[in-house]
């Protein structure tokens, strides 16, 4: 069974939202697995449930039923507080609109997740500099987000996502707000992270060009996996 393999194992996951008195099903009986070091693209029309599935895998939302195991940890059984601690160590986030803190510099933004660790100031500096080096922004570490282009901001966000060296990166439309050139750069960078740093990336996208970079493409429609 496919769901038995790899770093992420999703079994019979169901999720619905309540809108007033109405229950709107979003995901229905989803099961699949993701191998370690895989670059997976989740595609589908708006409202198909792909972002919800990504949120469930990232541990920022909870399933109604079913289970999600990541790296051997059954995250669906964790409490809110345990999930927060788990995310800090195991997941890196890349958002469509970068979600950088506007009053902090690129360096400080990248340093944020490290504040939750026991690293010393000096160790944090080493990690941040290494992360900014990976995204080729070492020369912009003192710039605030407003002083950077969209592509550069997304690179800072990727540096923030990898600075704690998590096994999984989740990216929700990472190229959705970028021009074609910048989008290409971001996708190349993600490819680089998979190939050279063995990261597992799960990316939600509408863009077929972005999906082309992925090793595996999964399609969702009306809450159901259509390819398998």
């Amino acid at each position: 069974m496919e769901s038995e393999t790899g770093i992420v194992t999703i079994r019979n996951v169901t999720k619905s939202y309540r809108r007033g008195s109405q229950v709107v099903p979003v995901l229905e009986d989803i099961s699949f697995g993701i191998r370690s070091g895989e670059f997976l693209a989740l595609m589908g029309p708006s409202g198909s449930g792909k972002s919800t599935l990504l949120n469930l895998i990232a541990g920022i939302d909870k399933v109604d039923s079913g289970s999600i195991s990541i790296g051997g940890c059954e995250i669906t059984t964790l409490s809110d507080s345990e999930l927060a601690g788990w995310r800090a160590v195991n997941v890196g986030f890349v958002f469509q609109f970068y979600n950088l803190i506007p009053v902090l510099t690129a360096y400080e933004n990248v340093e944020l997740p490290l504040l939750l660790t026991r690293l010393t100031r000096r160790e944090r500096r080493e990690h941040v500099e290494a992360a900014l080096d990976i995204v080729s922004l070492s020369d912009r570490m003192d710039h605030r987000p407003s002083q950077l282009s969209g592509g550069q901001q997304q690179r800072v966000a990727i540096a923030r996502a990898v600075v704690t060296d998590p096994a999984i990166l989740v990216a929700d439309e990472p190229t959705g707000d970028l021009d074609r050139v910048s989008a290409g750069e971001i996708l190349s960078l993600m490819d680089h992270l998979v190939r050279d740093f063995q990261k597992t990336i799960i990316m939600v996208t509408h863009d077929p060009r972005a999906a082309e970079k992925a090793h595996v493409i999964r399609h969702l429609e009306k809450g159901l996996l259509t390819d398998g």
């Binding site: 949120n55 990232a58 920022i60 939302d61 809110d80 507080s81 927060a84 601690g85 788990w86 995310r87 800090a88 160590v89 986030f93 958002f95 609109f97 979600n99 803190i101 944020l112 997740p113 939750l116 923030r160």
Partner: protein
């Protein structure tokens, strides 16, 4: 820009409340210090039993003579007893400039009166001669009342009085008095009795013994108080009134400031929904978000508090005069900033920040990550 302006306005609102709060405490402190500093702990004042102040008191000459021969009374360098039989009368004098009349205390003094009050010193002119229609005025009176300056004349008690000296009594209530010879003043005002007898104790510990003897003597209807206690009792009613008035204003203003802080903090939370969602996704706990917003609210309160206390500190430059309701006389005193007032004011402003920031901070902490990221 709008967020910065809202924050500045909120901090200013808090500063205003803290200013009122601190000013009230400073006013009460200043009043108490003025009245309490008026007394010296070695001095004992004897007044008629049941009277709250010298103005209401009457000590017959015979009774004053009995007090004078008590063994606890100290002797001065001239071998005379350090005791003064005094008269206190209220008169009405017009103020300089406005010509508005206000009550002034006229104190009939004896030769020991000045020695008994170490805070009082002559700063201009000379002492009035005993048996003459000469007077000296406190610096505050000389400055604010018509005809009370040196060389000027005042008319009261159907006589003309010449101001031959100005005395300074520091921050004490004597600054708001006019002093003259007690016998001359008793004649002028047709008063057969003294208002009080003031003396210094030879031994400060002998007060209780003296008090017991005086108050149990069937010939006397007098009571004895140490001077600071006497003046503290006098300040009580006014301090209470000022305190209640000030605190009422503070409470009303602070409600406005708390609502202002709450609006600002709600706006801050609303503006930072994306940041909250991001930080929570990165692994920050609910409690960290709550603490961050509470800290911000407290910082807002602290800034307001410091600004309010800073502004209030300038009130120390102001001397105000008001009616002392115990003596019905004009009393001048200054605002006084103490460490306790600073601490209370800052504590109060932190409390306002906390009250305003708590609900928005809890809301920020409770926010669902998915909703926060979706809203952004």
């Amino acid at each position: 820009m709008a967020r910065r302006m809202t924050t500045v306005l909120t901090a200013s609102g808090m500063a205003l409340v803290v200013f009122v709060f601190a000013a009230t405490l400073m006013l009460t402190d200043g009043l108490q210090k003025t009245l309490v500093a008026t007394g010296s702990s070695d001095n004992v004042i004897v007044i008629r039993k049941g009277s709250q102040s010298e103005v209401q008191s009457g000590v017959e000459r015979l009774q004053a003579n009995i007090v004078e021969i008590q063994p606890e009374i100290a002797t001065g360098s001239d071998s005379r007893r350090l005791l003064a039989k005094e008269l206190v009368v209220l008169i009405n004098l017009p103020k300089r400039g406005s010509n508005k009349p206000a009550n002034v205390v006229i104190r009939g003094t004896g030769t020991a009166s000045l020695t008994l009050r170490h805070q009082v010193r002559l700063i201009e002119g000379r002492m009035p001669r005993p048996g003459s229609a000469e007077i000296m005025a406190g610096a505050s009176i000389a400055r604010r009342f018509k005809g009370a300056g040196i060389g000027e004349h005042l008319r009261f008690g159907m006589r003309d009085w010449t101001v031959v000296g100005i005395f300074d009594a520091g921050t004490t209530g004597f600054n708001s008095e006019i002093w003259g010879d007690v016998d001359q003043l008793m004649q002028a005002f047709r008063r057969p009795v003294y208002s009080s007898v003031l003396f210094r104790l030879a031994d400060s510990d002998s007060f209780e013994k003296f008090k017991e003897r005086i108050e149990s003597d069937p010939r006397l209807t007098l009571e004895a108080k140490r001077e600071p206690r006497y003046y503290l009792d006098q300040s009580e009613a006014m301090s209470k009134f000022l305190g209640i008035l000030g605190m009422t204003l503070t409470v009303i203003f602070s409600l406005g400031a708390i609502i202002g802080a709450m609006i600002t903090m709600y706006a801050t939370v609303a503006n930072r929904v994306a940041e909250i969602g991001t930080l929570r996704a990165l692994g920050f706990q609910r409690s960290s978000i709550l603490a961050a917003f509470l800290s911000e609210a407290l910082l807002l309160g602290l800034i307001g508090g410091l600004a309010g206390v800073f502004c209030a500190s300038f009130m120390q430059l102001i001397t105000i005069s008001t009616m002392n309701w115990q003596t019905f006389s004009e009393l001048a005193f200054s605002f006084r900033l103490t460490a306790a007032t600073i601490l209370k004011s800052i504590g109060f402003s932190l409390l306002m920040g906390l009250a305003g920031g708590l609900v928005p901070a809890v809301r920020a902490g409770q926010m669902s990550i998915v909703d926060a990221l979706r809203e952004s």
